[in-house]
Point group: D5
Chain length 82, copies 10
């Protein structure tokens, strides 16, 4: 499983429509939050190991209506108490 | 009560109309100032604890006519002389 | 419950010790990941509503040995399928 | 009366001591908050009209133990419901 | 008397028309220079103590034809040989 | 196989010793180049799918003598003429 | 032989079309990857020694449909196990 | 004689036409190079001592078709083996 | 006559000593102000036409005790009502 | 022949000693200027085609006493009236 965080800058007033669209239309989404700071939203996605992250971000996420820019951070290791 | 600071970059010549709009239409506003530096305005808002800050900023503030960009800073603790 | 993301820039070679320290010593931690980009780590924390986020970040997280800088993002609303 | 906002970046783990110092030692302080984002603190100060803001910031605030950097924003007009 | 510096980024090829407009139409102007670096112009203005700097910058300066962006720096104390 | 690019800022005069160290001591390295711009070096690494990229970068690369900072970019899909 | 890395920021949703175009139409391309971070793509090109890199980037690459911005890094020396 | 360096960011695909225009139409030009990095071109100009650099940059250079932005650096002293 | 603006970032708490030193020891100084924003001071200097600005800034200004960084802006044309 | 521009940020007060050192000790130097802006110096170097630019910059230039940071720009094509 691959884990990524994507931050979204949306066109003014469109962030919640984008967030709703992520939850409704993107099944790989794990969490979506509106946030403080420069970006409007942060979302975490789990993708199968063989899945192309770049395709997912640029073809599925950047094409959602209202998205102005995205920034992708790959999560490498999940540290746990295990 | 939640306290946030929002800085506004407005379209050229529109900052004071935005400031007036904040005072007139946004009852959660506590203070609005025009400022030096990159942003035109800084405003402080008090929101009830259960209120969604992200919704407030993106749906109520970013949609005011003349707003070009916003930056949200959450105030955590208010230090006082107690 | 309050949700925050904190990104950590650590002194060279110290990021995994910091991550282990987060998991071992900070019970409020929900997830810790090493990441791509400028920061070495991102961590999500859940804090009780009455907890002071600023105190938590500056007194508990910034004081961990190996931490060079932190950046705090507050998560406002969790969007869900609910 | 002059109104300024000063944001403080403190040395790791020192922000709350700085905040306490502001409240205790700087009578011109109106509010001090710990915050999200790059800076640790934001404070608002009211200074008499004839007071030199630059002297106040560099001689009184920057010299507080634990302060690493400051950023000063001048508030011009306070918009109100008046 | 209040002293401010305002830096102007103008639309390509419009900086000298903006500078001429400042000299002709803005009586509070003290100096206007074209400059090296990112901005095209820097200007110094003297405003009466009771004058609202924010209103002056956003309503009078940003509305000049050809202005793309402004950055305002407030001068606090004038050091002199006095 | 995972592919990453890591850019290195080295302490003054140390970049070629770092580059030699990468080639000699890091078997996962595929290419190392000195470069124009802000960073001194860019290197590409191939890591097995199960390998932890974050551990590799922070424990193996950042600890090389002379490294001042690193920036990690993950390569998702390799486009080819297939 | 000259080696360059070019990073591409594409218009939203257009990165994979750009990547396909690079592979199909630009014979000097060696590798194209979609990536994490600010840019959508990184590509490596090998050009003959006498070839003008600037012409190649601005006339051949920037003119591909969907490209919004490019950043060119020249690779100087390839370090190897030789 | 005054010496300045001007860096040009051009609209996509237009940098070489701008460079040709500089050589053909601007007699004060000494050198024009296409470059690596963020800007597309760097050019050096020699202007007579009494010439207004700001007017030259904003009226003659920024108005060339295809120029999106300029950054001007003034060269003070030329060090030489003299 | 050449006109330059130099902005100074000083070590914490040292800006006013630097400003006093400028006024007392640098006869070319025309104005010194403490300022809002990132820098602590802005100063304007008039230098004879044949004077080397770079030497003046790096040898005379940067060596003043308490100066951490400087940024030099050259003023080209002074616009006036003349 | 390869042409590069290198910008130098020097330790406070050291820029002219660095410039003298470049002229005296680095035979590949073509021009050295002190400059406005963030960097203290810009220098142009001509290197034989087979010469390693990265080695030259990091081993010969960054090691000059007083150099704090360098930024390397490669000049691709020299446009001329030819």
């Amino acid at each position: 499983m691959q884990t990524i965080f994507v931050q979204f800058k949306c066109r003014p007033g469109r962030a919640y429509a984008v967030a709703d669209g992520l939850v409704e239309a993107i099944e790989e989404v794990s969490e979506v939050y509106s946030t403080s700071g420069h970006y409007d939203l942060i979302a975490k996605f789990y993708l199968p190991d063989e899945r192309d992250i770049g395709h997912f971000v640029t073809e599925r996420l950047q094409t959602l209506d209202g998205v102005a820019d995205t920034f992708t951070t790959v999560a490498f290791k999940a540290f746990g108490r295990g």
